[in-house]
Symmetry: C2
């Protein structure tokens, strides 16, 4: 039965396993579309336009914001980042889900957008702050100062957990993946996301009429 | 993590497999409580008080309605039927789910009750009206007149499908059972049904404080 595609928002502090969960979800269901952000910042070596980011001029970005073609957008250190609405809407109408790896600010904007009815938002919590810090340190790429900044950002991010439909405590990645898949499967079945049900019930009613069965009331 | 129990409402026209689905769900998770209705009608041979129904005097039933101790109630052919709120509320607070096998009218009342936030409602549709009629006839216990009445009631019942959170088309009972279990598992994980999350995040914040990590903003 034809359904509307979901906008699946995954948020978490960095180090809580959001990117791993996003990759696992994409591997489980290759029909998922990963939302590629637009940005006005210059590409870094190795970054591919349309894959890592959609690289955009500042003028074009501003035009899109003005024309309400951005689902959400933010400015970070003088650069703009945002999610173009067009591809998300197209996927939605085709019944394909789009996966968003965004922070609470992006999540809030998408949840307040015109596509709000099709949003499924999931927050991933670390099992403890100690575990979060270990994971950040295990990456081995950041100085103590950067780790301290990430931890402070984590506290900000975590403070928004209650705005999400679902919360997963990522203690064990396999179990967290199972929870995530269960949530996605169930939410896909929600009646308000199945416009095809209307036609199906219309068909049942035609059958009732063909058999001359009226309602009692 | 401690969660509130759900009020799981299963509705469908008779013959669409609601009772089978309820039995399968109870077999899958024996912690589910099946909601036993109270009634003022006399017990039939073999019916056990507290199992089939909670048999109640008319005066006691009226007192309960008056005292708002009924989650929903209705009068059918001069007899009263209703769901006492007490056991449902107790199960909810203990984190146990209650399963309701009720029609759209009962569903509507429960969905409008003070326990509305914890309701999960699922409607089961037959794959076709032909299949519905075959199933009713296959029971071999009803006259043509009773079948005609059931079919007319089915049309009433089906007209309320869109009031439910989820709709399952019961073409294959095994698949319908899988869908049902997926829905229940996911809904149990919803953030607004996990009051324990509050304490968990409070714990994370204490850890942040012990490490002297403030929020940026």
């Amino acid at each position: 039965m034809q359904r509307r595609g979901l906008l699946i928002i995954l948020s978490s502090p960095s180090g809580a396993g959001k990117s791993t969960m996003a990759k696992r979800l994409m591997a489980w269901d290759p029909s998922l579309k990963f939302s590629v952000s637009a940005t006005t910042r210059a590409p870094r070596p190795g970054e591919i336009d349309g894959v890592d980011y959609q690289f955009t001029s500042k003028a074009e970005f501003e035009r899109m914001v003005e024309a309400e073609e951005m689902l959400e957008h933010a400015e970070v250190f003088g650069n703009f980042y945002g999610t173009p609405k067009g591809p998300v809407e197209a996927a939605m109408m085709e019944g394909r889900d789009t996966l968003f790896d965004i922070d609470w600010q992006g999540g809030q904007q998408v949840r307040r957008s015109t596509l709000a009815q099709n949003v499924l938002s999931i927050f991933i919590l670390p099992p403890s702050i100690e575990a979060l810090e270990s994971r950040l340190r295990a990456r081995g790429q950041d100085s103590d100062e950067v780790i301290a900044l990430r931890m402070s950002e984590a506290r900000d991010e975590i403070s928004h957990w209650a705005e999400y439909d679902y919360v997963i405590v990522n203690d064990d990645p396999d179990q967290a993946e199972e929870e995530l898949k269960t949530i996605v499967k169930a939410e896909r079945a929600r009646a308000d996301r199945m416009p095809g049900l209307n036609d199906f019930v219309r068909g049942l009613n035609k059958e009732f009429e063909a058999r001359q069965i009226g309602a009692r009331s």
